[in-house]
């Protein structure tokens, strides 16, 4: 495992992913249509807590939607080929980093669409910097938990259904923490209070990535 190897794998990921324009379009369409359905369902008038909860639910399902593909798209042949070339730990790290990036982009896009359609009334008091930080950390956290789960589900050979069953209870701790943090950010609470939550989120992210790094090699070889 070395930085150059990870960088090469990252470039490979990006090249492969950008080739799949349809997948990206699908993700964007999912976010837009989910937000639009919410907009039609609630017609404005959302309280702060509901606004926050709805946003994170949309983001949660967007994450499942986007990250299920992470290990599904490659066939056994390509896996065997990668296996002979690189350290599995580089693979999981590269993929976690890449998925984290995808989730950050996707989260910020969702936030944009969400505020455009559902209004910015609740953001009056908000500390925007904190809120965006919560969104970014939450996105990275989803990515780091779901990357390993996606690998397990792909290995089990039963993709999307299993992914939801396995991933949902594991994402909950993160989801509850990040929802609380972003709620406090919307209330405009001072950094001195929210910094514990952000510290907790970073800790959760680091621990999940470390676990994935330790466990993935066992998953990799058959």
């Amino acid at each position: 495992m070395e930085p150059a190897e990870i960088a090469a794998l990252l470039r490979l990921e990006m090249a492969l992913d950008l080739r799949q324009r349809a997948a990206w379009a699908g993700m964007l369409l999912y976010v837009v249509s989910a937000v639009y359905v919410c907009y039609l369902a609630v017609k404005g008038g959302l309280g702060l807590a509901t606004w926050n909860a709805l946003f994170w639910i949309i983001l949660l399902f967007a994450a499942f939607n986007a990250l299920t593909r992470s290990f599904q798209r490659e066939d056994a042949g390509r896996q065997l080929y990668l296996y002979t070339l690189v350290d599995p730990r580089s693979v999981i790290l590269a993929r976690a980093i890449y998925n984290g990036g995808v989730m950050v982009v996707l989260s910020l896009l969702s936030l944009l669409v969400y505020t455009l359609l559902l209004g910015t009334d609740v953001l009056v008091e908000a500390d925007l910097g904190q809120f965006v930080l919560a969104v970014v950390l939450g996105g990275i956290g989803f990515a780091s938990v779901l990357t390993l789960i996606s690998a397990i589900a792909a290995r089990a050979g039963n993709g999307i259904g299993l992914m939801a069953i396995l991933g949902f209870p594991l994402v909950l701790p993160l989801l509850l923490t990040v929802m609380r943090a972003s709620k406090l950010a919307l209330d405009g609470v001072a950094w001195s209070v929210t910094s514990t939550y952000f510290g907790g989120l970073v800790l959760l992210d680091v621990i999940t990535v470390a676990l994935a790094w330790i466990l993935f090699p066992y998953l990799w070889r058959d």
Partner: protein, 330 residues
């Protein structure tokens, strides 16, 4: 003597169950009638719980540190007495406490005729009853505090069984042993039995204490997530055919899930340290703030150890049966 721990477990359970049921609750005052007083003479009937009224009983009213002594006391039986007071004008606070021999019923009487204070009275010294070995008497729990020895050990046992399962799973990754894999699965299955028991008993206790079977509480969410995780673990096992592949996938998921679960159960509640009804969380004090908590602990720790040993015994039986089943199929 290989089986000493099984005897130890049953002995501890026997001790904890009998002691947990038989040790009486601390005496307390639970009811007064009438529940409001106005200036003038009034007869207040007091109902006690596990009290032994009799002989020389001293009763007084206390309002903001100012006391009024009972002019006469008639003991009806061990748990009922009637006290006559001459209520003066000028109590400061809305609520008056009532004291019987050192037992305090706080805010017992709604008070009329408020003023700026009354002439001080010195009541005879109240004789405190000798301290016996009793459980604390808490206002919304009362007798149900005994459930501490039956409901809470379920969760301890579950966590220990899941810990055994993770230990076996780590061994699976090192050795690819199918026997270890079976042990990990069985530990999860027995752990889920205790999870279900903990959920049902918790729901009953919550209904009687907080008025609802389910509340949005950190501990309850933790229990629900634990159940979901391990049901998902069994679903994952069910969806893989190849035994060795199943062993490895299940072990990886088990380790990953257990670490996140420990974080969820023990770290996240510290972050969101508000809105829990459970003792020791949020604004609620644990049982340990009670002066008699050591008396609960003397029973509680043996109960926990006893249930853990029983759970381990069940796990042992289940693994041996499963091992025989595989041997027979061959």
């Amino acid at each position: 003597m290989r089986n000493w721990w099984k005897f130890l477990g049953i002995g501890l359970l026997l001790f904890a169950s009998i002691a947990g049921l038989l040790i009486p609750l601390a005496p307390a005052l639970v009811h007064v009638s009438p529940d409001r007083i106005a200036p003038g003479p009034v007869d207040v009937t007091v109902t006690g719980y596990n009290t032994a009224f009799g002989g020389d009983v001293k009763v007084r009213l206390v309002n903001e540190g100012q006391a009024v002594c009972a002019s006469s006391v008639a003991v009806l039986d061990g748990t009922h007495l009637t006290a006559r007071f001459d209520v003066p004008v000028g109590f400061k606070a809305n609520l008056t406490d009532l004291e019987v021999n050192g037992l305090v019923y706080q805010g017992a009487l709604f008070t009329e005729g408020l003023g700026t204070g009354i002439a001080a009275q010195t009541c005879p010294e109240q004789t405190m009853p000798a301290k016996a070995f009793v459980f604390p008497n808490r206002s919304i729990l009362y007798e149900s505090i005994r459930n501490l020895h039956f409901h809470v050990p379920m969760w301890f046992t579950m966590i220990v069984l899941m810990g055994i399962s993770v230990f076996q799973s780590i061994k699976v990754l090192g050795s690819n042993s199918l026997d270890r894999d079976r042990a990990a699965e069985m530990a999860v299955r027995i752990g889920l039995v205790f999870c279900v028991l903990g959920l049902i008993t918790g729901a009953l206790w919550a209904r009687a204490t907080w008025g609802a079977f389910w509340t949005n509480d950190v501990k309850l969410n933790g229990a629900a997530v634990t159940g979901l995780i391990y049901v998902a673990y069994l679903v994952l096992r069910g969806s893989v055919q190849d035994a060795h592949k199943r062993a490895r996938l299940a072990a990886i998921y088990n380790i990953f899930a257990f670490v996140l679960l420990v974080l969820f159960l023990f770290v996240v509640p510290r972050l969101n340290a508000i809105d829990s009804l459970h003792p020791g969380n949020g604004g609620n004090s644990g049982f340990s703030d009670l002066d008699l908590d050591d008396r609960l602990r003397v029973i509680f720790y043996p109960a926990v150890l006893g249930w853990i040993l029983l759970g381990t015994w069940m796990y042992d039986l289940r693994v041996r049966a499963a091992r025989l089943e595989t041997a027979m199929d061959r």
